[in-house]
Symmetry: C3
């Protein structure tokens, strides 16, 4: 097995942990998947292709990640629902020292309390991950949604 | 590659075999993915969170697995349909000797004879798998559905 | 790790590259995932079970692959849409020398310009892949759709 294949397996396992933390409502762990000053943003394919700087969601640094989850836990009012992340295709797009760049597709099935179950969003991510003693961490994660429309408030992170 | 990553790949390949056996209608092989006295149950997230012991489906031991498939082949009347299992995120939650514990998410797309195609169920599994000479076997498999509602009789195993 | 597990990882990474090329609209690379005289066909589960030779789409050799993409780029009129391939379960069904045979399931979520997002197709593939200096290449790829109906013209390859 070459280095690229091993990097792919490492990223795959790490992103699976990330998705399962969110789907299991362990949102207080979310920031810890990022480096101290890691960044996260969600945009749409259309914005990305047009080069528009608009983001649907954006965070930088552990403080903002934690604030967002606190808001979600205390202030936001939304219909209870759960996510089921389905990872799609994953490929390594770059490797430099301890840093791995990857892109991947994903789908999220959302189930509401009423039992309604549907494809909520799908799209792709571009991730930069640094390997370290404490395990891999995201330097930045960009989520690019295929659809320009988000049916409901995007509350839970992707 | 560390032991945990290798365990993850082993479980992933094993669960893919499991899903493809079901999706290929090789249901007579189902029991053989379990140990002789293996257990299988399907419940909902709501029941699991409330600690309710209610199961939607439950089997213990090869005899019950085989009975269930015989019933499906001969007695049950249901609209013909096929499953397409899409495995989701997978992580190893424990390793003790030859036994690996894992959790994973999944989605099933069901297609009826009329061509209707939809997300049938999604949710997660908790699996305990023992490695042996005859290949991995499930000691127990718990399927926890995100939705409290199952639109139709759950006939084919998940 | 045994040879079969390594073959599985190699095929998985290769098919992920294939899917991401298509989902990223890098369709001009499509032919290059196949050997010079590689074949590709799309059929339905029903046709396959009845032994019917009807194909929904069929290509042999790089020339036909390229023609198909040229037609798509220039001649076909269809509503703009993007695919999001979600790979499903994958297993190795044969290994002989440099050739690996595999089967896998998949789902495609299609998003139109209006933002409509739905399960477009799901089904399975049977692939024969040859390993070589230039990386893996498909000798043949058969896509077997679960549904007998394709809602719209199948324009973009699967």
């Amino acid at each position: 097995m070459n280095d690229k294949l091993i990097a792919r397996l490492t990223v795959e396992a790490f992103l699976a942990d990330y998705m399962l933390a969110i789907d299991s409502d362990r949102l207080e762990e979310w920031h810890d998947f990022f480096t101290q000053d890691g960044t996260y943003r969600v945009t749409t394919r259309e914005n990305e292709e047009l080069g528009l700087p608009l983001n649907i969601m954006s965070c930088r640094g552990h403080g903002m990640f934690k604030d967002r989850i606190t808001a979600l836990r205390t202030a936001n009012i939304f219909e209870p629902h759960v996510y089921c992340h389905i990872p799609g295709a994953l490929r390594i797009t770059g490797m430099k020292g301890d840093v791995i760049e990857s892109e991947s597709t994903f789908t999220i099935i959302r189930t509401t309390n009423h039992g309604d179950m549907r494809v909520f969003v799908c799209g792709r991510t571009r991730d930069r991950i640094v390997l370290g003693e404490g395990g891999p961490k995201l330097i930045d994660r960009t989520v690019i949604l295929d659809s320009r429309q988000i049916e409901t408030l995007l509350v839970i992170p992707i």
